[in-house]
């Protein structure tokens, strides 16, 4: 039985359901828009945001991702669908990869719309390499979705899942936040030469973090989604 076919079916199913309900992407986008407006008016319209541009972006994206991650297993719990999925002969890590890819796609769609709006509303620009900026966002998104999908699986079976996920997700994702802020700040500020070394280091740490948690999820998911 093809693992790729199973992962693809889970991703397709999540995308079709989201296209019908639009509850995840729309709520995430409205939330990120609200944060932008709060930053814009909260700090004053004449503030130069460029020294802390990365921090502002990732505070917004990290909390936005929580909204999506909290919802990602709700469809599975509805009408016992998670039990139906677990009854099928699918390898448990394939469920993880399917859900993780779906979360990655939804978060990325929100960011594709939100980043240009951010740049316009906060009067920011990307002075460094745009491909490096995109790479930093992709690496950070992978980390957020890997950790988030793993932890939302744990929290879905608890009574206080809406509260539990932020409590366990935010501390564990703090290395992602630090590296994402460091890399995007450096790239948006257009740093070069020796000052670019911390950006490269942060992106290497992000990549290592992503790989490490992908392996952890692959090894532990059977246990995590079980009893």
């Amino acid at each position: 039985m093809s693992g790729g076919r199973q992962i693809g079916a889970i991703v397709k199913k999540d995308i079709i359901a989201e296209l019908r309900t639009k509850e995840m992407v729309v709520s995430m986008f409205l939330f990120v828009l609200l944060i932008m407006v709060a930053f814009h008016y909260g700090f004053g319209t004449t503030t130069d945001f460029s020294p802390f541009a990365g921090g502002l972006i990732w505070i917004a994206f990290l909390f936005t991702s929580l909204l999506g991650l909290n919802r990602s297993f709700v469809h599975e719990k509805d009408e016992g669908c998670l039990e139906g999925l677990l009854l099928s002969p699918v390898d448990r890590p394939n469920i993880f990869f399917g859900k993780m890819i779906g979360n990655f796609i939804f978060l990325t769609i929100v960011e594709i719309i939100a980043v240009p709006l951010y740049l316009v509303m906060l009067n920011l620009s990307i002075r460094g390499s745009v491909p490096m900026f995109i790479l930093a966002i992709v690496l950070s998104n992978i980390g957020i979705c890997v950790v988030g999908t793993l932890l939302s699986t744990i929290s879905i079976n608890t009574k206080m899942r809406d509260m539990l996920l932020p409590l366990i997700y935010l501390p564990i994702s703090s290395p992602i936040l630090i590296c994402a802020v460091t890399s995007t700040n450096g790239i948006m500020g257009g740093v070069t030469g020796e000052k670019f070394a911390p950006v490269i280091s942060a992106m290497k740490i992000l990549a290592a973090y992503d790989i490490m948690f992908l392996l952890v999820a692959y090894a532990l998911y059977d246990f995590v989604i079980g009893e």
Partner: protein, 236 residues
């Protein structure tokens, strides 16, 4: 011939509570076990253990001679579950739900199989409609199609008649009749007449223990009813 389902000295403990206590039974290929018992007796836990959803605390389970701890995926490919929860995605259409489960089970010629099943459960005309728009009976009929999609050899029926209209009950029972010879069934039910008429073996679970277990051809119906009324209904 080895039994299709074999359970030996099975126990399950959740925290300090013993939900199943030293359960042993065998069910031959093509057999039909009707499982009775009050809520909390351990019936659903027993099915979940046999279907590999949860692990036993002690004891052994074999399905087609396979050990769930070593062959869980192979066992899951052989089983189907019809329960009072439909296990269907409300925001997908009937056809999309069956396509999704077809991919999960690796069903070959899935389109032809979906056509066949939707005709059998009389939902061909609603194949493109969202499950969210279905009545309870229609949803349950689609759940029957989902459970049979991969042609399982063992079917678990967990109170399958709950919430069904008489038409859906007829469809379910005619489907059971049509596949009866080639399949093994374990059905949880509170309906004595229906359970006894369908079964080849009857069992009553009470507080995680078997308090009654007999072949239908040896069934002492008075003893069965006496135990059922004492333990399940609490009659003195």
């Amino acid at each position: 011939m080895s039994p299709e389902v074999e359970v030996k000295n099975l126990s399950k403990v959740f925290g300090k509570r013993k939900v199943l206590d030293d359960i042993s039974f065998e069910l031959e290929r093509g057999g039909f076990l009707s499982l009775f018992g009050p809520n909390g007796a351990g019936k659903t836990t027993l099915i979940k253990i046999i279907s590999t959803l949860i692990a036993p605390s002690s004891g052994e389970v074999r399905l087609s001679g396979m050990d769930p701890t070593k062959n869980s995926a192979a066992i899951r490919a052989k089983i189907g579950l019809i329960s009072h929860s439909p296990l269907l995605y409300l925001d997908l259409s009937a056809e999309e739900n069956l396509h999704f489960y077809g991919a999960m089970y690796g069903v070959e010629n899935v389109d032809a199989r979906i056509d066949e099943l939707l005709d059998q459960v009389e939902l061909g005309h609603r194949r493109y409609d969202l499950v969210r728009t279905f009545s309870k009976g229609m949803t349950q009929r689609l759940a029957i199609a989902r459970a049979l999609l991969h042609k399982p050899s063992v079917l678990f029926l967990d109170e399958p008649h709950t919430g069904l209209d008489p038409h859906a009950v007829d469809i379910l029972e005619s489907l059971i009749d049509s596949i009866r010879k080639n399949h093994t069934f374990i059905m949880i039910t509170h309906n004595i007449d229906r359970g006894i008429s369908l079964c080849s073996k009857a069992m009553i679970l009470y507080n995680g223990q078997i308090v009654f277990y007999q072949d239908k051809n040896e069934l002492d119906i008075d003893k069965f009813k006496s135990i059922y009324h004492q333990r399940v209904r609490g009659d003195s």
